[in-house]
Amino acid sequence: MTTESPPALDNTIEVPEELKQNVFITTLDAIYNWGRMYSTWPMMFGLACCAIEMICAASSRLDIERFGWGLMRASPRQADLMIVSGTVTKKMIPNIVRLYNQMPEPRYVIAMGACASGGGPFKEGYNVVSGIDKYLPVDVYIPGCPPTPYSLVQGFVALQEKMKRQSIKTVPWYNKDIPSEVIPVPLLGPDIFDPRDVPLIKQELQKRKHAAEQPVVVEEPPADAPKKKPKRAPKPPKLPKWDTTPTPEVQALADRLNEAIAPDAVTPEAETLVVQPEHLIAVAEYLRDTEGLEYTYLSNVTGVDYLGREPRFEVVYHLYSIRHWGGPVVLKARPADDENPTLPSLINVWQSADLQEREVYDLFGIKFEGHPRLKRILMWEGFRGYPMRKDFKEPYFEEDVKPFTNRWPLGEHEHIEFKNPYKKNVYYPDDFDPDTWQPVGEELEEIRLKGVENIAGMRTDRIKVNMGPQHPSTHGVFRMVVTLEGENVVDLEPVLGYLHRNHEKIGERNGWLMNMPFTDRLDYITSMINNHGYAMLVEKMTGTQVPERAEYIRVIMSELNRAVSHLWLIGFLLNDLGAFFTPALYAIKARERILDLFEEVSGSRMMYNYMRFGGVANDVSEEWLDKARFHVKDTLPRTLDELEDLISNNEILLARTKDVGYLSPEKLVAYGVTGPQLRAGGVNYDIRKAEPYSIYDRFNFDIPVLHNSDVYDRYLIRVLETRQSLRILEQALAQIEPGEIMGGKGGYITRVPAGEAYSRVESPKGELGFYAVSNGSGNPWRYRVRSSSFVNLTSLPEMCRNGKVADAIVILGAHDIVLGEVDR
């Protein structure tokens, strides 16, 4: 402003020149900023584990409403703060940028947690973005993995501080000359690329073309030059090999199969059956249908890449019997052609092969003939290479195994994400042109669904609706493509991979022990049970004995965690039904009590990293046990009673959940559904009883079974199961005796003898299995997580079909998926 101020009167106090024009503005600034500071509307979307802590910050323990931050908006157009809570994957980043672009000014971004700030522990993964600030301007970073809710509140205070310093005069959103910044949406090409980086990519492409055209000139070194020591080629890793003498049972089964199907259909190897690909379907059908065998449940399908062996690939199937609780029968099929590996699909024998075969295709490039929807599932169409193959290298590839040598003893710190990411390990197809690139499968779909006749004989239009991946009711970054006729769901297709954090690939680089904290981040509501499952796998392979007290502690932790997980589900299922946050509030309140217990003994609220091979990390004190006894006797039953009293007979709940999402028990088994959903369908199958692990055979408890197979029963069974967990807990807490908590060798280097093993536990979501192949070194050759949430999703389309769209949300809610486990 250049207007002249009127001459000051003699008797007035002289106002300094620079203040004259600003007194009004400063006051206005203070009022304006005060208003903004205490009425920030965050966007309601969560990405990963940190989102759970964000929800906890919004619930009663911390109650961000105190700051006026509690009004979370599901639409970006109504929000002015984006809390990026968790790992940002390459598949998810275009959506986040789109959401950001839709937010009106003024807008702020908080990067919550190590992953959102800089990639976190998953930074090395091929599908993980090293920090959201590569794409969005970030205002506040909150470190920690995960940050506690307290850290988040402190981040809010820091952002308020920042708002306070802004002036109405300088902020860009009132200046007409500065248009609101629109971030170009990143594209999913052979790898992700930012449109702002196109010149860089072109440069690289040019260079490659140039290099390809030029003949390779080898420069003769001058004769007197000191001879460089040739770099020693890294030794190829040892191929896993072990004794393959078949056990008598397997030999007998193999003989039976060979007699029934073909003379050399299967070859027994240790505890597995190697099946000739052409006989695979016949063998599968025989095992499923023959009386006495009845292996109706296909639990796990996975690929293994034995690079350097002939034939290279192998697909492993784990079968169990639901009827006689027998198993596993392990089938192996080896595609003959290494270049173009193909196997017959088993989807018509067991539907549960559907998503799992797609995953094997996505990560290993093994094709399954006869699969109706064989396309990528975790990565996007057009991604280069098959990431779980042993010769796959990531853009930021460092080394095959950890520890990485560059970190010690002479490593200067470097941020790898600031190096040019478009070099060396990024593969571009010959016809790749970044200017005209159109991501496959991302084009707008032409809708040819007008004027169809619906079930009632009326003419109507079909529409396709994308729910997610940031929809608040999809419990994370999950997308459902729903085809609707009015309100009726005609078809539904789950789209996954938005939280694919490359758990298995990182797990194969990690040492055995290093994987333990990573398992915490699989299903981040039930980390203790993940720890338990993984510890059991390695103990099985090494033959480590677990002391008595450690077993008791493990059971106590697992069951407490089961109770917590079921409480969480009950609260959020009600959220999905429209009872927004009140039941969840009381469920979270009880959960916080248990988390306090976990925090006291393990040091963290969510990522416990508590179990070790041969025991547990810390002992529990007598005081702690008393607290646990109190919660088991008082807090948890009281909360359950209250929730049940409040919910179970509520007429709205009954109207919304009775007879919704029915699926017959036979189909549940065929789809590979496990856990509470299976038992709510009348099938009595719980791994704690069917194949007792740890010390579960010592406790007196029942497996509740309900028969309606609808959402109401799926809710009720969780209440009943929690009560059974409390029964186990009471016994365990009464029986526990002092003693050792660690067996085995301990130490930070674990060597696992060559071999393979599959170990499974009953998680609150279903069967959580870990499969590993070891070559005898310090790292797993193949490490696979069979997650229940992922396989359970196979049944989602069938359950939702012909229902209402609002029911689809509830059915998904009753699935109780946790995206960390679905996408891994």
């Binding site: 009663s60 700030s117 976190g120 470190p143 509140v153 710190h413 990522m607």
Partner: protein, 227 residues
């Protein structure tokens, strides 16, 4: 009955509402000795409780872990002495066991260029750290410890989120204040180990002396016999 669900729901809310105030009244006589957060977060306390963070902070359990720091036995402010007196011997176990590989160490050298068992530089990239606590668990010198400091939000990350040796150094008294039990345990363990070492050394010296004496005596005997 139609509408009963609404009444029930509201009564639950009302119950929690009253419980909260009853608990507050119960706390009143104890306010001199106990903080409200500790009272309300103890088992048995009913009602809804909100921690008035940041004005009020609950007591953290001793095992709580956030980011690692390095322990120095020097209590003063001089950075160089702090680093010199640090417990870290640059053995690199923490960096090898770290699942996220977020630790970078530069080993110190003496004037002749020979490596010393001290670290010159020590980086922890807190944007990669997964707070798992392995570094502290497997450190043989009780030198790297998981901190209780969780309020670390800031406005930039390129420099602030890489903790270097200066930032990581904290005195042993701080370690003792956040983890008293563990500190005492480890100190006791070290003391016992040292005693054991001393005892062994003494025993060895004694054995040696005895052997020497025996040999001397034997020699003397031999000499005597020869005479």
């Amino acid at each position: 009955m139609f509408g009963l669900g609404v009444v029930k729901g509201l009564s639950v809310t009302l119950k929690h509402f009253f419980e909260t105030y009853i608990e507050d009244l119960k706390y009143y006589p104890k306010r001199a000795t106990l903080s409200l957060a500790d009272y309300r977060m103890a088992p048995g306390s009913k009602g809804i409780y909100t921690v008035q963070y940041p004005e009020e902070k609950p007591t953290l359990p001793e095992n709580f872990r956030f980011l690692p720091f390095l322990v120095t036995d020097y209590e003063g402010d001089d950075i160089a002495t702090q680093i010199e007196e640090a417990r870290c011997t640059s053995c690199g176990i923490c960096s090898k066991v770290c699942p996220a590989q977020c630790i970078w160490i530069v080993r110190d050298t003496d004037e002749n260029g020979k490596p010393r068992s001290k670290s010159k530089q020590f980086y922890v990239d807190i944007d990669m750290c997964m707070n798992c606590g392995y570094c502290a668990e497997f450190c043989p010198f009780d030198s790297i410890i998981m901190d209780h400091e969780y309020a670390l939000a800031d406005y930039e990350r390129e420099t602030g989120h890489v903790h270097d040796i200066v930032r990581l150094m904290k005195p042993a008294s701080y370690y003792q204040s956040i983890r008293p039990t563990q500190y005492a345990q480890k100190a006791e363990q070290r003391r016992r180990e040292e005693e054991e070492k001393k005892r062994k050394a003494e025993a060895k010296a004694k054995r040696l002396a005895e052997k020497k004496a025996a040999a001397a005596a034997a020699k003397a005997q031999k000499d005597d016999a020869a005479e």
